[in-house]
Structure formats: structure tokens, C-alpha cells
């Protein structure tokens, strides 16, 4: 089992499997890269409307393919049909949002359901025609890598790479419009046009990923990697790279598992891999992750409580609240009866001194003082140059 798994993961399990895996990885990277821009533009959910709107297009393309004398399962043809109705879905959402009083989320929900319902009706009609054909189309709902040929995988990989290249070319345009639409428009950028390019790229990812991940879950490839990447960085370029990496990683792990267990729906497995990466990012990312953030907040609370306790003690009072009192006890500033110890007296004097220095600093250099964080644990003497500190000592004497 493990040797099999290793072979799949390292592209050593045969040409077909490796090409399919490469295609899925490319798709994952594409979803990650393009997803960043719709994520930042706060329009990620429109990809749900797009994906559900592709169903009638797939069914119609199948019928067209059969009518033209083939099996109707040519991937390029089905992708084209999907893209066509997907595009109509986008335009329908925009039109409803611009011309009626409905907000975009209502428009998305409406378009999504109407198109999808229509698609289901077409699918069941196809079922009455030929049972074999239907089974192939069903895989578009939840995705499967099992029936993917090498040629189809190459198509997926190539199209993904093209989409990624286009997204990178327009990176600054997407960023400008996502950050400050009014400023971009004032500069002369055609915001509507840039949005349309972004939506076209989303549509491309949906159409490309339909067969492998399935239309119900393709939206996850476009939302989860950017959301995970956001935890790790505050720079757009790095976020794009990281999101692409997470998407590719999900494709690699999920695609490999799908190759080892062909009965499992590929889309779900890839999405679960992405979800695992997201959960790990949510918990463990430094600074922005939940654990790091909670620890940071706790540290701040404790430091604030300690300062409260020491300042009260410097004035001759016990600490004002229970947490401060307990902390003073733990730190050895007060003894078992709540009275100040020698150590506590020294610490209290130190805290009062810092307070006076900070007050003098705020009076003398009000602008610079804004950058000094008294809760950071740093002493003012360490943060400023000696001559400034000397001046502050004179002021606060």
C-alpha cells in the first residue's frame, strides 16, 4: 500500500496516472492564483453561480455531440458548452444586480438555482435516451479522475497554465480595483472591463475543473486556498504565490488519493485536502492564526493586569481587580496576605517611573509617542536614545 502511494505521489505510477496528477495540480494552482483576486474583490461567491450555470451547457453540448455523430463525451466540446452557459449565468447575475433592486447575493442564488434546475431536467431527459451516456455526465457533478485520459489531462494542464499566465499579467489591475475601486476609476481604469476579465478567468477555471473536481465543489478550489494563504502573509504577491502553492498541494494530495482509490469522488477528496491545509493555517499561522493570536491577546491582558497592579501598589493601594491581584501574587509582588513585598516595592517603583517617562514623552514628542507601545514590555530607556531619555527624566522629576 505505502509503496503504491509513494509511487503515485512521486509521479512514478505510470504515464497516465502521472499526467492526470499533473493536470490536477495545474488546476489547483490555477484555482489558487485566480481565486485570490475574486477573494479580495469580495466576489468569490459568484463562482458558485458560474459552476451551477454550467450544467445546462454540459447537457446541451452532450446532445449536440451526439447529434453530430459522436459519443457526446468530447471534453473540449463539453467544456465549451459549460463555458457558454456559464458566461450567460455571469451576465444574468450582473444584469439582475444592475437593473433590479436585488443585491448580488440574491442574484447569485436565483441564477444558480434556475440554471441548475434546468440542467437537471436536461440530464434526466438524456437518461431516457441512453443510460451509458448519463453515467459519464454524472461525473461532472462531483468529479472523477478515474475516467480521465492523458489527452484530456494535458488539455486541463495547458488551459490552467494559460489562465494563470493571464491572471499574473493583470495582477496590478486586479489589485488596484479590489483595493480602491473609486480611485482606480478616477485614474481612468475601466473597472467594469477589469471585473469582466476576472470573471472570465473564474469561468475558465470552472470549465477546466468540471471533469476532475465536479461543478458542485469547484468553488472550493477558488475560495479555500486564498483564504488559507491570507493567514500567512500581508503582501499581495506572496499571497498569490502561497495560494497557488496551497491549491497545487491540494491537487497533489487529493489527486494521488483519488488515483489510489478510484471509487472515491475526486472532487471531494481534493477539497478535503484543501480544507486540511486551511484548518492548519487557521490554527497554526504565526501572528494571524487563531492560536498565535489568542496567545498574543493573553500576553497583552496579563501585561496590562501587571501594570495595573504595580501602579496601584505604587500609590499604596491593593490591585484593583481579581486578575491583577492574582498576578501580583504569582509574580511575588505581594505576599500571601496581599501585602507588598520588597520585590513588589521595587517593581512598583519601576512601573511608576515608566509611567512618568511615558507621560513626559507624550507631552514633549506627541507624534513620535504614538509609535511607542507601552504594552510591548519594552522599557522606554531601551526604546529611545540616551539624550532623549535624559531630557524626559528631567521633565518628569
Amino acid at each position: 500500500m505505502t509503496s503504491e502511494a509513494f509511487a503515485v505521489l512521486t509521479f512514478g505510477a505510470g504515464y497516465n496516472t502521472s499526467v492526470v496528477l499533473a493536470g490536477v495540480i495545474a488546476l489547483g494552482i490555477g484555482g489558487g492564483v485566480i481565486g485570490v483576486f475574486s477573494f479580495l474583490r469580495k466576489r468569490a461567491l459568484i463562482s458558485d453561480a458560474i459552476s451551477h450555470a454550467t450544467l445546462p451547457g454540459i447537457a446541451l453540448a452532450f446532445l449536440a455531440g451526439v447529434a453530430l455523430g459522436g459519443t457526446g463525451r468530447n471534453l473540449a466540446l463539453l467544456m465549451a458548452g459549460a463555458a457558454l452557459t456559464g458566461a450567460i449565468g455571469i451576465l444574468a447575475v450582473q444584469w439582475i444586480r444592475d437593473r433590479t433592486r436585488l443585491a448580488e447575493d440574491a442574484a447569485i442564488g436565483t441564477v444558480l438555482s434556475v440554471f441548475f434546475g434546468f440542467g437537471i431536467v436536461l440530464l434526466s431527459h438524456i437518461q431516457t435516451l441512453q443510460a451509458a451516456g448519463q453515467a459519464g455526465l454524472n461525473s461532472f457533478l462531483l468529479g472523477s479522475t478515474a475516467a480521465l485520459t492523458a489527452g484530456e489531462a494535458q488539455l486541463i494542464a495547458g488551459a490552467s497554465v494559460a489562465a494563470i499566465a493571464i491572471a499574473l499579467i493583470f495582477m496590478k489591475e486586479f489589485g488596484a480595483v479590489a483595493f480602491d475601486e473609486g480611485f482606480a476609476a478616477a485614474q481612468g481604469w475601466r473597472v467594469a472591463r477589469i471585473d469582466l476579465i476576472m470573471l472570465a478567468l473564474l469561468l475558465a477555471i470552472v470549465a477546466i475543473g468540471l471533469k476532475t473536481v465536479g461543478l458542485i465543489l469547484i468553488i472550493a478550489l477558488v475560495i479555500i486556498p486564498p483564504a488559507a494563504a491570507r493567514f500567512w502573509t500581508d503582501r499581495l504577491g506572496r499571497m498569490v504565490a502561497l495560494s497557488g502553492a496551497f491549491g497545487g498541494l491540494s491537487g497533489w494530495i487529493g489527486g494521488s488519493i483519488s488515483a489510489l482509490f478510484p471509487d472515491m469522488p475526486a472532487g471531494a477528496v481534493i477539497v478535503l485536502a484543501a480544507a486540511a491545509i486551511f484548518t492548519a493555517s487557521l490554527l497554526f499561522a504565526p501572528r494571524r492564526g487563531v492560536i498565535a493570536w489568542s496567545l498574543h491577546r493573553l500576553r497583552l491582558r496579563l501585561r496590562a493586569a501587571e501594570t495595573r497592579a504595580l501602579l496601584a501598589m505604587a500609590d499604596g493601594y491593593q490591585a484593583p481587580d481579581a486578575l491583577a491581584r492574582r498576578l501580583a501574587g504569582w509574580r511575588g509582588y505581594t505576599d500571601a496576605h496581599g501585602q507588598m513585598t520588597v520585590r513588589g516595592a521595587a517593581a512598583a517603583a519601576g512601573a511608576a517611573h515608566q509611567q512618568r517617562l511615558w507621560r513626559a514623552y507624550r507631552q514633549r514628542h506627541p507624534d513620535a509617542a504614538l509609535s511607542f507601545n507601552p504594552l510591548s514590555g519594552r522599557r522606554i530607556e531601551d526604546a529611545l536614545s540616551a539624550d532623549i531619555v535624559a531630557a524626559l527624566e528631567r521633565d518628569s522629576a
Binding site: L40, E173, G175, F179, F183, A184, A186, Q187
Partner: protein, 267 residues
């Protein structure tokens, strides 16, 4: 006796100077649904000056700026920037929007935001290069924010964010600067920095039109003003138009008479 002949409307006086004024507005009318936000505004901004646009809440001040930039659809009116329609003059206009209109959690540093001011010059699809980033940092230095170049913008104070916005506008190297309440909610140091930058811009020959919310400082910072209350109330040099009468007409009911008198005296 015959009634006087009516002249064709185009013959209405518009002096030659106003033709190439930095900003020239005729009959500007903007309405959201049926409520008018701006009604029949005629205004010429003089060159080389700092112009304040003042008025009570809902007077149409921000609407005017957004209408000039064609960010808001207009019911009627002609807008010219240096004699040309706005679409053709965009490269000569810089915009500092309200700070509240932006998502400050966006993954961008102060330097990234200022670099966005250069995007218009970089053009479609071309990358942002090293020398663009260096220029962005230079503009940050002009507003005293050079040390914060790599700080994510959400971690800056309100005044610092405002200065980053200002640096972004400076990067556009324009002749007409439109600012929407740049002094709102900023600290004293930032206020001084913004005024210095504005005065330098004027010295370099640019015109700054600024929506201003603080009547106490109009007389100190600006040399011209436009008083708006949906309809224009008065326009001209601050000393001339900041009168009790004009302020009463614009703010009547929203400001106490004593306040109005005090403000008129600052002019």
C-alpha cells in the same frame, strides 16, 4: 415699447479665463432617485490656489467631487478640467478619497498603496518595476511616512493612513488635486503635514480643491472657498465670502448664531 430681445443662452457671459480654469463646472445637477444632491452648480476654481468646499451634511460636497471624476452619474451639467472634458484630462487630476471607503485589511503595505498612484502611468499589463517602488518611497518621504513603507496599511493610525493616501495622490503628479475630507479624524501632526503638502503643491502651480468639514480652520488653510447647500451659496476668496449672511444661508438652523459670528470673524 417692445420687450428686450432675449439673447441665445450660449451668449451668457463666461470669461475667457474660466475656459481653461483647472476646474470649470456649469449647471451641474446630481440626484439620487428623486432627491437632488447637487442643483445647478456653476463654479470655476482659480489656478494656483487652495479651494475649500464647505457646507452642512448632505450639502453635496462629496457628490460634487465624485461627479467631477465621473464616479457618480450626473443628471445635467458640463464639467471641464483645464478646458478639456474630464475623460481626456484624467492624467492631470489626482484624487484623495475618503478614508472610510477602503478595506484596510487588504494585503498591501504603505509602499504598495502609493505605487498604485503610478499605475496610470505604467499602463495596462505592464509590471511594477524597482524604480516605481523607489519613486513610491520618495513620495512617502514627502509626507513623513518613509519609515512605514513596509507596514501593512491596517496597522497604521488614521492620520498615517491619510498621509499614505496623500502620498498616493502626489505620485500621480497632477495639476488639479481633488480631496475628500482629508482632515477628518487625523491627529495634529498629520494635519500640519497635509497643510504643508498642500501649500507646496500650490507653490508648484497646482490647484487643490478640498472638501473641508472644519469651519474653524477654513480661514487659516484656504484662500478660496465654495459654500454649498445642494445649491451653491457663494464662491470666491475666503475673506470675502465667509460672511455671517452666507453662513446663515448655508447652515441656518444647524449652527448657533454665536458660532456663525465667531467663524465669520476668522476670515
Amino acid at each position: 415699447m417692445n420687450p428686450p430681445r432675449l439673447l441665445p443662452f450660449d451668449a451668457a457671459p463666461a470669461n475667457a479665463e474660466s475656459k481653461n480654469a483647472p476646474l470649470s463646472v456649469r449647471g451641474l445637477t446630481v440626484a439620487y432617485d428623486d432627491k437632488p444632491a447637487l442643483w445647478d452648480l456653476d463654479f470655476d476654481a482659480p489656478g494656483d490656489s487652495l479651494v475649500a468646499v464647505i457646507g452642512p451634511n448632505g450639502a453635496g460636497k462629496s457628490t460634487m467631487i465624485r461627479a467631477v471624476l465621473r464616479l457618480t452619474p450626473v443628471l445635467a451639467g458640463d464639467i471641464r478640467v483645464f478646458g478639456a472634458p474630464v475623460k481626456r484630462a484624467r492624467k492631470r487630476i489626482a484624487y484623495v478619497p475618503q478614508r472610510t471607503s477602503v478595506d484596510w485589511d487588504f494585503p498591501a503595505s504603505a509602499e504598495d498603496v502609493v505605487a498604485m498612484g503610478l499605475y496610470g502611468r505604467i499602463g495596462w499589463c505592464r509590471p511594477v518595476r524597482r524604480h516605481h517602488r523607489d519613486a513610491a518611497r520618495a513620495h512617502l518621504d514627502r509626507v513623513g511616512m518613509a519609515d512605514f513603507a513596509n507596514r501593512q496599511i491596517g496597522q497604521l493610525s488614521g492620520g498615517q493612513q491619510q498621509r499614505v493616501f496623500l502620498a498616493r495622490a502626489l505620485a500621480q503628479d497632477a495639476d488639479l488635486y481633488l480631496m475628500d475630507e482629508p482632515f477628518a479624524g487625523v491627529d495634529a501632526a498629520t494635519e500640519r503635514a497635509i497643510v504643508d503638502v498642500m501649500r507646496n503643491l500650490r507653490a508648484d502651480g497646482a490647484t487643490v480643491v478640498c472638501v473641508h468639514h472644519d469651519l474653524q480652520t477654513v480661514g487659516d488653510y484656504f484662500d478660496h472657498a465654495l459654500i454649498l447647500n445642494v445649491r451653491p451659496v457663494a464662491a470666491g476668496p475666503v475673506a470675502e465670502i465667509l460672511t455671517e449672511e452666507n453662513l446663515q444661508e448655508a447652515y441656518g438652523g444647524r449652527l448657533a448664531a454665536t458660532e456663525i459670528r465667531a467663524i465669520a470673524r476668522t476670515a
